[in-house]
Symmetry: C2
Subunit: 230 residues, 2 copies
DNA sequence: ATTTGTCAGATTGTCTGTCAATATGACGAG
DNA sequence: CTCGTCATATTGACAGACAATCTGACAAAT
């Protein structure tokens, strides 16, 4: 078996993507190519290529002559992301119900049970990783590389927001119930029900996420007011 | 007014994208960075950055240690693309019906009338450009940058196939009728009908496209047989 | 005190040259 | 005809350089 080692560029892409998704680089932060070159121990050329890729994925926003910045997700954009996510996730669920193997369905159930077994107060990163595994199975099993790639990008794009909503202790049981409906529809091989359950799940998540975003906006406005009154 | 000239890199990205979409570079063709550097008159670094971006858009496939190639769309992939396009286009149509301004609706009608007025035998590129203008209005008016970006990528990805199906003289009246239904639903501000009409339009296009793809596959198989018999 | 102007320093955008690792294609041996 | 071997071309990656542009600070002017 021929094993081609991954080029340095790919490793940098992955590490940088992961760093942004896990908020090791904060939204709005300036990603100077020299600085990144030092951090990752590679040349500017490699960094610039990796940045271009993550720019196309929407994780990085490049301002001409000022360089790359970690993309910031406004409330308006979040609304749009959830709108698209709803239909793509529905399509993925439908495809999975139609085309996944019985082994893949069992695997989905397995990950779901792990998620359902978490106790309140579980670390948000643990929860997010479980959910990511769930999506991993889903996107492989739906047999559509395009929906997989696009949905993956969207999930990365608002992973920070998802970590927040997912770890809301009051919301978790509700979330699990929604996902259970997805899994059950898939086990029944009912594409229509899977579609509807996925869509409903994203809609519910959007509700919570937007409430949190608006709350944050209010907080910041209040803080801005305090600062102004200093 | 501050006018920042577009960086060379952006121009190369655009020109390369356009060249691939319009089949000036054929699918499967090897895009050596030195060669592209000569063609566009820029350094390898700029080319490599542009390639990375188009790679993320799916127009270019990079093989490790062999470089970039113009992406090839198999019949299986085309099926997947149409599946995703159907829901994204439906979402765009729905959003347009809900949120576009009356001026934008008038503009959509205008472009549609131009398309409807074409006579049989019109050049495929003229038709494709009209359809691109139609989508341009649609994607701006749907007020969702994410669905716009993703749908744009998908449309670029299979523009070659679209040019073929659009210019099929037997298919054109049918196509126009489908698009008329979209425009009329939008003019009625009926999001549900717009959704359904868009979906139906893509489904129909997919039927034709896949028939053509399978026909091509048969042709190539036959040709391969001849060659084998030489 | 606020605005405007200027200037040094840092960063981006781009080019050139270099070098190791890998793939390609031709050539000759078996 | 098939299988190694080798020269050549290309990719992947690095370093250094330099003009254009942005930033932030400080000085001048209103």
């Amino acid at each position: 078996m021929r094993v081609t080692p991954q080029p340095v560029r790919r490793q940098v892409e992955e590490r940088l993507r992961e760093a942004i998704i896990t908020s090791r680089f904060m939204p709005g932060e300036h990603l100077s190519d020299r600085m990144l070159g030092d951090v990752f121990g590679v040349s500017r050329g490699v960094i610039r290529e990796a940045v271009r890729l993550l720019e196309a994925e929407g994780l990085i926003k490049v301002v001409p002559n000022r360089g790359p910045f970690v993309a910031f997700l406004s409330a308006a954009e979040a609304t749009q992301v959830y709108e698209v996510r709803a239909v793509l996730e529905a399509l993925a669920g439908q495809g999975f119900a139609e085309r996944a193997s019985t082994e893949e369905i069992a695997e989905l159930r397995e990950v779901f049970e792990e998620l359902a077994a978490t106790r309140p107060g579980t670390d948000r990163m643990v929860l997010l990783n479980l959910k990511r595994r769930f999506y991993g199975v889903m996107l492989r099993g739906c047999r559509n590389a395009y929906v997989a790639r696009m949905l993956d990008q969207l999930l990365n794009r608002n992973s920070q927001l998802r970590a927040t909503t997912l770890s809301d202790p009051k919301r978790l049981p509700q979330t699990i119930a929604e996902i259970r409906r997805i899994v059950e529809a898939i086990e029944r091989r009912d594409p229509g029900a899977a579609w509807a359950a996925c869509r409903e799940h994203v809609h519910q998540a959007a509700q919570v996420a937007l409430r949190i975003l608006n709350q944050q906006a209010r907080d910041e406005a209040a803080q801005g007011l305090e600062v102004a009154l200093d």
